[in-house]
């Protein structure tokens, strides 16, 4: 009891007063209260924005919801002049280009993630991760610009040229096989854009797999690749989460897709033909939709897109969380 007093050089009385004034004072409690309210208000604002967003989309698409009902999703007629609206061509285009993009991106992303985690050293991993994540930092409008001016003509030359050379005779030289703007073009752009997401999450999930699993496999005489297969199969739920997250991103991507998909509101079976996506039609038509019905139809497409991406994202988050949820270094008060 005497020693700390001697060190601090204050009397018992003095210290008690100081401590009382700091801890027990009503002033600091009011400060705490105000600070808590300000923080909680900011948090609640997030709830309000989401609630408001859903409400606004429903209210503003009321006209077409009540007129077309579920037929809005299944009808493939999009005719603003005669006020006939069906979203099927856009849903088709969105899903086709996203899923195809996903199929292109998945093997690449997995290969990169395996390389980063299992093959590359720490320094190479840092550099390559940085480069891959740089892809994610490029604004989508730049992807679109590059896509429309560089990639689409290139694809058209390569694929179109190949088809013309091999099948041109059968159909006559005048048959155009592949113009360029198409589901395929947007799938390629989307693949490049979602590659960083799938790669970085797969990488994190695989890094979370204990080293002992690799060691056990290697000790049993497996080759490095066989050990990697075990790691990948243990990380499968997290990787699936990464894939679905990539899908969510692809479904909602607007600019790059709008610029290379061709913007044709018809369901064309071939991925070499042009199509239209949900986000693209909103981007192209909402600012010039003069009739209330057209406006409402576009906002209802937004609502469909919102519900789709919401379900997809939640599924992905749950999967990724179930695998990587354990990092917690600090603590709360």
């Amino acid at each position: 009891m005497d020693t700390p007093q001697a060190i601090s050089g204050t009397s018992q009385n003095e210290r008690t007063t100081v401590i009382r004034s700091l801890i027990g004072s009503a002033k600091s409690r009011i400060g705490d209260r105000i600070f808590y309210i300000v923080c909680a208000f900011s948090g609640i604002l997030i709830m309000a924005v989401i609630a408001g967003l859903i409400l606004q989309l429903i209210v503003n698409s009321n006209l077409t919801i009540s007129k077309f009902g579920l037929g809005f999703i299944t009808s493939s007629v999009w005719d603003p002049v005669n006020e006939q609206f069906g979203a099927a061509p856009f849903i088709y285009g969105t899903i086709m280009s996203s899923v195809l993009g996903l199929l292109l991106a998945l093997p690449l992303s997995l290969g990169i993630a395996v390389f980063l985690v299992e093959i590359a050293g720490t320094r190479l991993r840092t550099v390559l991760s940085f480069l891959v994540e740089t892809l994610a930092a490029i604004p989508s409008i730049v992807y679109g610009l590059w896509g429309i001016i560089v990639m689409v003509p290139m694809l058209s030359n390569i694929i179109g040229g190949y088809l013309q050379n091999h099948y041109g005779d059968a159909y006559g030289d005048t048959v155009p096989f592949f113009y360029g703007p198409s589901i395929l073009s947007s799938a390629v752009i989307l693949a490049i854009m979602i590659l960083p997401i799938i790669t970085s999450i797969s990488r994190d999930v695989m890094l979370a797999i204990p080293m002992s699993q690799r060691e056990a496999a290697l000790a049993l005489g497996s080759t490095k690749w066989e050990a990697i297969k075990i790691v990948v199969s243990n990380a499968r739920w997290g990787i699936l989460g990464a894939v679905i997250l990539g899908l969510g991103r692809a479904l909602g991507e607007t600019m790059a897709v709008t610029m290379v998909i061709g913007n044709d509101p018809h369901i064309n079976a071939s991925v070499l033909q042009s199509s239209y996506s949900m986000a693209s039609v909103i981007a192209n038509e909402l600012n010039e939709a003069t009739s209330a019905m057209h406006n409402s139809a576009l906002i209802e497409i937004g609502l469909v897109l919102l519900i789709t991406t919401f379900i997809v994202n939640m599924l992905a988050r749950l999967l990724v969380w179930s695998v990587t949820r354990k990092r917690f270094a600090g603590g709360r008060l």
């Binding site: 100081v18 924005v49 607007t254």
Partner: protein, 298 residues
Amino acid sequence: MSNSIQHSTHRKITISKTSISRRKITNYVMLGLCGVCVLLALIPLGAIMFYTIREGLSAINWNFFTELPKPVGELGGGMKNALIGTCALVGMSSLIGVPFGVLAGVYLAEYGSNRIANIIRFLTEVMSGLPSIIVGIFAYTVVVKPAGHFSAYAGAIALAILMIPVITKTTEELLKLVPVTYREAGLALGAPKWVVILRVVLSTAGKGIVTGVMLSIARAAGETAPLIFTAFGNQFMHKGFNEPIAALPLQIYTYAKAPYDDWHAQAWAGAAVLIVLVFILSVVVRAVTGGGKFNIQH
């Protein structure tokens, strides 16, 4: 006992000897393919950078920064209005998004062990996965439709909504990394909780939060979709924030869609400026602050 182990080991070896070369070949082929994947991913990155910088540099000059866009057919002109517009939009959205984002992050990290906080955490995830075009629709229905005209405010609100979840998530993660002993030390010294949070916890995580904020600003600066029917774009200087305003990504979009070569050149120049801007914001800030979330040692 030892006999059976001997036996099984022996069998294992004979089995694997028959396929050992095949397994080794598979091993090297697959590992090699993984390396090929890395190279394949770097091709589009290299191509986009190469084209943007090459085309952009040949089109960029002083006039690009000081002049307004010229009509079709007239060569030259610049994107002064779009550059200023983007700065204005990003500035306004930061004014809204940064304080709310950081405070919501503080709420989740410091007061967030209740049910409402879990809902907010969940909604923050939802919000960060929202397609930007939908946020644009929201701003359109809330601001543009009632007002009857496009405005910079609508664009700024859309961008702010896109910024908030990124900032909130970064803030929460970083505050959780601050050791609980820091908070205890602060409280033990007699400081009230809010002072501890502001002066100890937030300032410890400060660098990382700044990185998160910069990344979200970089993302907002490159957004196009939510601006199309909110900020709308403007070929002239805006006279106020209650009217349509130009933005760099919107201007690039307008020029890229058009069939004119000199407009394409302008689009490339705009893209080059945008990429440099985004990179200064994200890469340099990340380098300066030492990678953000990894700068807290414990």
